[in-house]
């Protein structure tokens, strides 16, 4: 028999099927899985060299996520809708510290041409890095030299993904709404993942920066929100594990990864491995509305 103090005052607990608006990531586990996935996908990829570079980068991210010094989180918006969107100069210097560690660890692992890029990035002033970091986080990818954006984003990702789980614990999940940008840090999703928990078939959007996942209703456009004309695209099999959901209204699209069918998939790696599906959709006039941390492709000119 249990002691009376062990019996909860409110009987019963919420259903395990209850929808969770936000899912916190375990950054180290995410990076480990991503590195493994990159390794296995590289074998059949025409971009094998790039996959290998990404894998080395992600392995360093995993190590930093476990060992780095993240200081304290001072200026986060406790009561704001997107608590990790504006963190002040403290955060800028922490992620830039992570960037230096990441680059110096990567330097001996890359060939000469990439080593030159790495050295050049290490020499940039903190003011310049702050500007670039901010531009990337606001979705102005084209304002940052494409050869740097991969590394800058990787360092910021380690920093933001470290704090996101702690912040999610303190957020009022009841206030989280259906939204196309991350409710934690305000960045774009990488892709949709179709999960099997808390219930099979739910769609979550996976954040490109802080690796958190937030619920987004199926069969609605993840960019403009309409639900009248949605089309699913896939190669060969209508039930394929990677599909694209496009919107006839805004002509945007989001990739869907059916992780419930293939649990080893990783959003960033598998998005990168299915660029062919993207090119098919691009040819039909659709554009991705997502950011892949391992791709950092440019956005189109600002629409009014």
């Amino acid at each position: 028999m249990s002691h009376t103090v062990e019996i909860p005052m409110v009987p019963g607990s919420e259903s395990p099927l209850e929808l969770k608006p936000l899912k916190a990531a375990e950054p180290q586990a995410v990076y480990h899985r991503r590195a493994q996935r990159l390794l296995s996908l590289a074998k059949d990829s025409p971009l094998a060299d790039y996959f290998e570079l990404c894998r080395r980068l992600v392995v360093i991210q995993a190590r930093l996520a476990g060992e780095a010094d993240f200081g304290q989180l001072l200026a986060w918006g406790k009561d704001e809708a997107i608590p990790l969107s504006q963190l002040g100069s403290e955060a800028e210097s922490y992620w830039q510290g992570l960037l230096q560690q990441l680059l110096s660890e990567l330097l001996p692992q890359v060939d000469d041409s990439i080593a030159r890029v790495v050295r050049l990035l290490m020499q940039q002033s903190p003011e310049q890095l702050t500007l670039w970091g901010r531009a990337l986080r606001q979705g102005h990818v084209s304002e940052v030299p494409a050869r740097f954006s991969l590394f800058i984003w990787a360092a910021m990702g380690v920093y933001w993904s470290h704090w996101a789980p702690m912040v999610i614990k303190r957020m009022d999940q009841a206030k989280v709404e259906q939204q196309s940008m991350c409710p934690v840090c305000g960045c774009h999703p990488v892709a949709s993942v179709i999960v099997d928990e808390p219930r099979a078939g739910l769609r979550y959007l996976h954040c490109s920066l802080c690796e958190s996942e937030w619920h987004y209703i199926r069969a609605h456009c993840t960019s403009c929100g309409q639900d009248k004309e949605m089309t699913i695209w896939s190669l060969d099999d209508a039930q394929a594990q990677v599909r694209i959901e496009s919107c006839d209204e805004c002509h945007g699209y989001t990739k869907m990864l059916f992780v419930e069918k293939s649990p080893s998939m990783d959003v960033a790696a598998d998005d990168l491995a299915t660029l062919m599906l993207d090119s098919e959709l691009n040819a039909k006039g659709f554009g991705a509305t997502t950011v892949n941390p391992l791709l950092m492709a440019h956005e189109t000119a600002q629409e009014q």
Binding site: H140, M181, A219, S223, S234, A238, D278, S279, G287
Partner: protein, 193 residues
């Protein structure tokens, strides 16, 4: 903060990405590693109509909205977002796609004469006339106008009515009005079959 709500990547996104900036772009990046067929399907949310629970569904159909293409549903699954069924379906619901595409689906009125095993197709107006005639005859013969105490009751007990289970409030109201006005007592929905 000025974030891009309407954000879209350039076509041929890889060409503007870190891959090409770092000199690791391959001409084969987009080349097909094998023959493939691009499949598209329209994605629609709806409700199961086969009982009053009203489970949420996601339906996938082939064929665009073009004039000459007929849309056909090829896959139906439970809607995980739906608060009632949370993605699950009963055996009847799980077999919906076969109901929809069944070759035995009733598409027009048919008549089987007593003692015959042959169904013959009849027109809608014939069907309505026949139903009305038989209902009228049965009601005229069996309507109970007054009970033993002499109170007017207008009960029609020899006929019952099976109605839809997935009706909105208004549909339910009109069904009740129609059936009760005739004096019908036995009314049920197909939720129970």
């Amino acid at each position: 903060m000025n974030r891009r709500q309407f954000f879209k990547l350039c076509a041929s996104s890889a060409a503007t990405s870190a891959i090409s900036a770092l000199g690791l772009m391959s001409e084969k990046a987009y080349a097909a590693v094998r023959e493939f067929k691009l499949i598209s399907a329209k994605e629609t949310r709806n409700n199961c109509c086969y009982c009053s629970v009203g489970c949420g569904l996601l339906m996938y159909s082939k064929g665009s909205n073009g004039k000459n293409t007929e849309q056909s549903i090829f896959h139906i699954e439970g809607d995980a977002d739906h608060p009632v069924n949370r993605g699950a379906l009963c055996p009847k619901g799980a077999g919906l796609v076969d109901y929809v595409n069944s070759p035995n689906r009733l598409k027009y009125p048919e008549y089987r004469a007593p003692g015959s095993n042959e169904w013959t197709r009849i027109s809608w107006s014939e069907a309505y006339k026949r139903i009305a005639r038989l209902m009228k005859d049965d009601r005229d013969a069996n309507l109970i106008e007054k009970n033993s105490a002499g109170t007017t009751v207008n009960r029609w007990l020899s006929t019952g009515m099976m109605t839809s289970s997935a009706m909105p409030n208004e549909g339910g109201y009109i069904t009740q009005k129609f059936a009760r006005a005739l004096g019908l007592v036995a009314i049920d929905t197909i939720a129970r079959n």
